[in-house]
């Protein structure tokens, strides 16, 4: 299916279906992100049903959660925490953010710093240079030597309707290194298409071909990086029916099993 059609549909009515709502302490919605400056790093917020939610502070490539983009809507999948508000927003934690691919010029809100919204904690890195290390850990680390196991499983997680991106460099490197070090003979790759249950009860499904595309892309990338002598077993699966509004982001994934 044409991806642009899917995305447009996703933002409207087609492509989403009504289902039971997620638990009350979950907030799954699509909205324009908002960036608010502070005296240190900016905060990222989003509004839903008249309330402001805190998504994340500005981070870097090594962070587990990365800020969204102005110029695009964001899919927010989070749990309301009992932490004090940050930058005026209710803290969603854990939270998964997916940048919607189509441009949206209406998502352009930048708020100035205000004393009352300054962070009450020191961010892992200031807005300029770091303190000598990546604030959230090395995004691509050379893995330990392969354990003597017959089979090892890896998982790559994805943003909604998205293929491989910067954060996959590390797990792909780990797969590559493990396959080389263990003398692997076969790799099983399963790509999953998923859906997310929004707080308004609608089910937002990924592109119909997303599971296949993810699986095939991972196989291509591993071959492209030099793993050409392995037997590739590439499959894909539709898991859109598993969406419950809780941790649906974890369903968007590729599972890779490397066998000796």
């Amino acid at each position: 299916m044409n991806r642009s059609i899917v995305t447009l549909a996703m933002m409207g009515l087609a492509g989403v279906a009504n289902a039971a709502a997620p638990p009350a302490n979950h907030r799954n919605f699509v909205a324009c992100p908002i960036v608010r400056d502070t005296s240190s790093v900016p905060c990222w917020l989003a509004e839903y049903e008249g309330e402001t939610y805190f998504l994340t502070i500005q981070t870097d490539v090594s962070a587990p959660v990365n800020p969204p983009w102005l110029g695009h809507k964001v899919l927010v999948e989070g749990t309301v925490s009992d932490e004090p508000r940050i930058c005026g927003g209710i803290v969603l934690k854990p939270v998964a953010l997916s940048v919607m691919q189509e441009l949206d010029g209406s998502c352009n809100t930048m708020l100035p710093a205000e004393e009352r919204y300054n962070l009450t904690f020191e961010p892992p890195r200031p807005p300029g240079p770091s303190k000598g290390r990546l604030a959230f850990g090395d995004p691509v680390t050379k893995p330990q030597s392969a354990a003597d196991v017959a089979s090892k499983s890896f998982e790559l997680r994805y943003e909604f309707d998205s293929l491989v991106m910067f954060r996959h460099a590390q797990p792909l490197q780990q797969i590559l290194e493990h396959a080389r070090q263990s003398g692997a003979s076969r790799v099983q790759i399963t790509g999953y298409r998923a859906a997310t249950l929004l707080s308004n009860g609608q089910l937002m499904r990924e592109d119909e071909q997303m599971g296949r595309r993810r699986a095939e892309q991972v196989a291509d990338l591993l071959r492209g990086a030099g793993l050409t002598d392995l037997k590739y077993d590439v499959k894909w699966q539709d898991e859109t029916k598993r969406a419950r509004g809780v941790d649906d982001a974890a369903l968007r994934r590729v599972q890779v099993v490397v066998d000796r």
Partner: protein
């Protein structure tokens, strides 16, 4: 092959004959049958380039010796340390290997058909690049017959009238050489890459993209873009195997190119579009495209070229206001001696390594009653403040592909050193292509047409339409315009359009103009571009300090 006229003056004709005899057939190389990386060091796009290079005429050329100019084949030994004046002071070229015997050296000899050597476009006086001021000087000295004006790429398009400055306007006015690449792109093994976008020629002022013999619809379809020669020195820094160099690119998760000999991933920081993984593969391509060498250079010459490039360093060694940059109290980030002994593969966007380490002595010099010393100290303090602007002055970086998209968010409140983070170089630490807007509209230099002057756009303009089956460009949408698609000419990716590998900061004072398309004629224009692009709002003081800092590198 078209008959050629070749009259080379000076040393090199005999070597040229030997070179041709020694050359291997590119057809044979292209047919090596090696999937993926080529063991012959010839990337998939190069045989097509060779066809065009051999189609193009070779003009009569002469390259007489001149002040500050290294003539191909002149045979003068290259001293361990040479100083060249420029408008900000002096540039130094340091050879760690000691005296370089250039006689017979393939970097310095005219090994191709057009009389050029590597040194033609990588001149020591210009920080191993080539300034537009030097190009103009060379035009005057040779009446346009120096080999740098060779039709293949020193002309806007190869079949324009020889000897007419208009035929060479991009080189004479902006220091740009023509880069011709097959379109659609070719993979390492020569197979066709299906691009994610279509490319329409909207404007073709050079005539080359629509040319029946050299253009996109020719028998050997080629796109022509125009770029500055990059600095062939300080190479250990941008070919490092340290921080951030892995098998998968940290910016997009795709496989990095690999050294065809070792299989090791490349940092992909050598050329503007990262199309060559190593100095050796770059030399093979450059000999074919720029020197019109018909074949693959043999291993002995490749080793000598790479060996030379791996030991030569360049940086400013004195500053007209700040004095010598070769003293024991010179800040560790300045001066060619410090560049030569610096550590490669380090991320410098932090307060432990720093990108260009400064010193407190310069930042806060002791008071002096001597007016000359006081003036020198004031310039040193300005350079130190400029460093702090580079390192610590925050602004909103917005809509920059391969920066805002790699986990920082859009916009991100950061500093110059966020992108320019490689210790001692100011390049990106690895896989350094980004779209700052130097070639993509709306930010690229484009003067609106008007009836009040005769200036016309100099560069080609392409309309890019991203295919429906792929995501649109994150910040420019599905349809946009560019003067140079950059990395996308190699990858075929929509979101790579206009992404250019950033260049090192060394020797800036000696090699204007700046950016890959020469769109900034001076350091002030360079700083002003960023000021406009990111709405930074530099004060006059910040701007002056930043320029002083850049001019001392």
């Amino acid at each position: 092959m078209k008959a050629k006229v070749r009259i080379a003056i000076g040393v090199g004709a005999g070597l040229w004959i030997g070179a041709v005899l020694a050359a291997q057939s590119l057809d044979r190389i292209a047919d090596n049958g090696v999937p993926g990386a080529s063991k012959q060091n010839v990337a998939g796009h190069v045989p097509d380039q060779n066809r065009q290079a051999q189609q193009a005429p070779v003009a009569e050329s002469k390259s007489p010796p001149a002040n500050r100019w290294w003539t191909p084949g002149e045979g003068t030994p290259l001293a361990p340390l040479i100083a060249y004046p420029n408008s900000f002071g002096q540039l130094g070229v340091l050879n760690q290997a000691g005296v370089i015997e250039t006689k017979g050296h393939p970097f310095f000899e005219p090994i191709g058909e057009n009389g050029r050597a590597c040194v033609s476009c990588h001149q020591p006086a210009n920080a191993m690049s080539l300034s537009v001021e030097m190009i103009e000087q060379r035009w005057r000295e040779t009446q346009g017959q120096d080999p740098i004006f060779a039709p293949i790429d020193g002309m806007n398009c190869p079949d324009l009238p020889a000897g007419d400055p208009k035929s060479h306007s991009l080189l004479l006015e902006r220091g740009l050489f023509r880069i011709f690449l097959p379109w659609p792109p070719k993979a390492e093994d020569g197979s066709r890459i299906e691009p994610e976008f279509t490319m329409e020629v909207v404007r073709d002022p050079t005539g080359c993209n629509l040319h029946p013999k050299y253009g996109l619809k020719s028998e050997n379809p080629m796109v022509s873009v125009y770029r500055r020669p990059r600095v062939a020195a300080n190479t250990k820094y941008f070919t490092h195997q340290g921080f951030g160099v892995f098998s998968f690119i940290g910016k997009n998760g795709l496989p990095a190119t690999r050294d065809p000999e070792t299989g090791l991933p490349s940092g992909m920081n050598i050329l503007a579009d990262a199309r060559q993984p190593t100095l050796k593969t770059q030399a093979v391509e450059a000999a074919i495209t720029h020197l019109q060498f018909n074949g693959k250079l043999d291993e002995a010459r490749l080793e000598k070229i790479v060996g030379f490039e791996s030991q030569v360093y360049t940086a400013q060694i004195s500053h007209q206001g700040a004095g010598s940059l070769m003293e024991s109290d010179t800040p560790p980030g300045l001066g060619v001696a410090n560049v030569a002994k610096g550590r490669e593969g380090l991320l410098g966007n932090n307060v432990t390594n720093f990108v260009f380490p400064m010193s407190e002595q310069w930042r806060k010099p002791a008071p002096s009653s001597d007016p000359e010393t006081a003036r020198r100290n004031e310039m040193r303090a300005s350079i130190a403040r400029g460093h702090d602007v580079f390192m610590f002055r925050t602004f909103w970086i917005k809509d920059a592909m391969h920066l805002n998209t790699v986990g920082l968010g859009n916009p991100t409140k950061r500093t110059c050193s966020t992108c320019h983070g490689m210790h001692m170089m100011g390049m990106d630490i690895a896989n350094g292509w980004m779209d700052l807007g130097t070639t993509n509209l709306p930010w690229a230099r484009e003067e609106p047409l008007n009836p009040w002057n005769e200036r016309k756009p100099q560069l080609p303009l392409f309309k890019i339409t991203c295919n429906a089956g792929v995501p649109p460009h994150p910040f420019l949408g599905r349809v946009f315009y560019t003067q140079d698609p950059g990395r996308a000419l190699i990858s075929g990716k929509c979101n790579d359009v206009g992404a250019i590998v950033m260049q090192q900061f060394r020797g800036l004072a000696a090699r204007a103009p700046y950016f890959a398309n020469g769109s900034a004629g001076s350091l002030r224009e360079l700083v002003d571009f960023y000021d406009r692009r990111f709405n930074i709002g530099y004060t006059d003081q910040e701007r002056d300090d930043l320029i002083n800092f850049l001019s001392a590198l």
